[in-house]
Point group: C2
Chain length 415, copies 2
């Protein structure tokens, strides 16, 4: 059974029942008519509450099944996804100049990024709908996680990548057996071709922009964060939850998860959201500083490839997350992002990819600008594993000491 009440268009507010044929508001179109899944929270509350959950022994994102848009377990694959570690780091808090600092390491998911939470839902939904194939356009974590979960389900996956897609990222897709089309054109052309092909051939579309269910998977990172704070840190609630922002889907999901936990009695106050972008691709930050709050698409230019989204497809949900939480957007440059990689690794022993760690520099910047107070605490979500981008690690890492195989060389270093 499902607890879905309705799907509501974030643009016009019209509501729809769950229906296989409806993926976006048909009135507003897929560019702006993103749907939000709403549940019967009065019913959900009876099984999802702090007392009941203390006995929940399912340590994966599926512990939140009543808060997910699935009919049951039928489409759920064997891969262990979610319930990634939460750590407190005093060293990092000291470095960033905040009272407390929590790190949620979502690079510990099956294909090493937070996107696994969304792909797990996408594939489960495709199985429910008895789709014969699932498709997406991406070069990054969305694609590799889709390839992984589709392999688990034995479901054919078709992935459209732009011609400039890095070889290493494509390799992951091939290893999992996905069919990969390298579209000789831009990312937008690959995206359009994916949408068109899905329509024509009846493939289930995993593109987060037009699929209302994927964000429901992403929100589980926030559901877990709150529960883990409860069990591991006596219910400490950070003043800020920090997340990097690309198309707006992850930050939107995080905010939704926090509000649901507030509604269900797990949280007594709501944190503010700090949305962090790269200086080389900051459409949210720009809109935030402009009173109109309108999206102006830009050319992306940052090494943090997973948030290099010049035209965010989920702009409204992303903007709402920060507005509603009374938080802020902030941008950091690529050098700050490399600094974040080494600082997070050295202070908290977590190795994240550039887009996964930019929140570290974001906090430092926000403290400097007076957005975050030194008496406040932060919870930073690290969205992807550093092994996804060894090249950036090399840039940020430091120096090797070449020595002869002779103890004298070591002696002079020790001195």
């Amino acid at each position: 059974m499902t607890y879905i009440n309705q799907l509501v268009c974030v643009n016009c507010g019209r509501s729809y029942g769950e229906d296989e044929s409806i993926n976006y508001c048909p009135i507003c179109g897929f560019q702006s008519g993103i749907l939000d899944v709403q549940y019967d929270y009065l019913a959900v509350e009876k099984i999802c509450n702090p007392t009941a959950f203390k006995k929940n022994s399912n340590f994966s994102m599926w512990r939140y099944l009543p808060l997910l848009p699935l009919q049951g377990m039928v489409g759920i694959q064997h891969l262990q996804v979610g319930w990634t570690p939460l750590y407190e780091s005093r060293n990092l808090a000291g470095e960033l100049g905040v009272a407390r600092c929590f790190i949620k390491d979502d690079g510990r998911n099956p294909t090493a990024s937070l996107k696994d939470r969304a792909s797990a839902i996408g594939v489960a939904k495709a199985m429910e709908y008895k789709a014969e194939c699932i498709a997406c356009a991406s070069t990054g974590n969305a694609a590799s996680s889709l390839a992984g979960f589709a392999a688990a389900a034995g479901l054919p996956a078709v992935i459209f990548v732009p011609q400039r897609a890095p070889k290493a990222k494509v390799a992951q897709l091939l290893v999992f057996g996905a069919k990969v089309f390298s579209v000789q054109g831009t990312y937008d052309q690959a995206w359009e071709l994916c949408m068109q092909s899905s329509g024509e051939f009846g493939w289930y579309s995993r593109n987060c922009a037009v699929n209302p269910y994927l964000i429901e998977g992403k929100k589980t990172v926030a559901l877990e964060l709150v529960e883990q704070l409860l069990y591991q840190y006596d219910g400490a609630v950070p003043d800020w939850v920090v997340v990097t922002v690309g198309d707006g889907c992850t930050v939107g999901g995080v905010w939704k998860g926090l509000t649901e936990m507030y509604r269900l009695g797990f949280l007594t106050k709501l944190p503010k959201i700090l949305g962090v972008q790269a200086q080389g691709c900051r459409p949210f930050v720009t809109a935030w500083h402009d009173n109109t709050r309108k999206l102006l698409p830009v050319e992306a230019n940052t090494l943090a490839d997973s948030i290099a989204v010049g035209h965010p497809r989920n702009f409204q949900k992303g903007m709402n997350a920060v507005l509603e939480s009374q938080g802020a957007f902030i941008a950091v440059d690529d050098d700050d992002i490399l600094w974040s990689m080494t600082t997070l690794a050295r202070k908290a022993a977590v190795f994240g990819e550039p887009a996964g760690v930019a929140g570290i520099a974001g906090v430092k910047q926000a403290v400097k600008q007076g957005i975050i107070d030194k008496n406040e605490s932060v919870g930073i979500i690290v969205t992807g594993n550093g092994l996804k981008d060894i090249e950036s690690a090399i840039k940020g890492g430091g120096v090797v000491h070449k020595i002869e195989p002779d103890i004298e060389a070591v002696r002079s270093y020790v001195k």
Copy 2:
């Protein structure tokens, strides 16, 4: 408190009490005088047994603290290590021609390999001994896991790598802030220099060969395997446990873990061990086929770098594991290893590095040779994440289809 009874030399059988100054049998020397840690199992049994463990809510390797050579929690770091997922894959069982196939995905550890279990112990021990620095010689997973756990402890780490060490692997060490010496010479020279330096400067040595405690960390993968089989698969015991073999330490640890679980009443029969090596570096396989069972060091020549150990430093423990379990050693070539990567990823959705997955091809080969019967079941330990070696994934992966941004191109593929 610790339950250690004694440390026994695997070569001469002499026993020693736990003592900071004793890392190997002083009579036999470090080349052959490896020590085995033995516990007071009668005392351990009272707290480590199937009834008590059903209530154990610590889902990490530290649930086995009484079976580990630590004085307590003092040196244990925050990183969530162990209790990695165990999956059954029917598709893979079908492909390999066995009755059942279980996969233990140890690439899901903090720095993405089984070596984290050993480094967690190494760093904890260094903290107990109040060492001011920890050192090792390695280019691979041992080094990156050491760098990660040392960063967690705020303990300086010095790592000696041979000059041919791949840049990407060195990058991980630097990100975690380790001091890296590139020794202009062979791996053996780097190893000797590390041993000499550790002695002279009082650094704690993580080299698995001469440190009797690290293998105790590695054995936890087998302790978990048995418990997870109990809870997830009604106590199914695979006829074979399959593990790849480099220096012999991991396979030795796996066998030790299995025998302990048998002794403590978690297992009713002991599986046989299948030790898998690469054809290009198979000193164990060669010794196995020779009646003398003597080690002949070789030049290593395989893409599975984590098991490219021509001179296994823990030969005796590795050989004993297979002998005592009445198992077998087998070798597979590099093409088989690449096949293993894609087969594991496509059939079971687990992406492992070459040395981590060679056991897949090992089982296929062993079935063909009649070593494993088609009615038997296997449990395969995948020791490292595929993201550690993207180059091999590229070699094994398959082909990308280049198309114009035009639906016609997709149509002709679909037809």
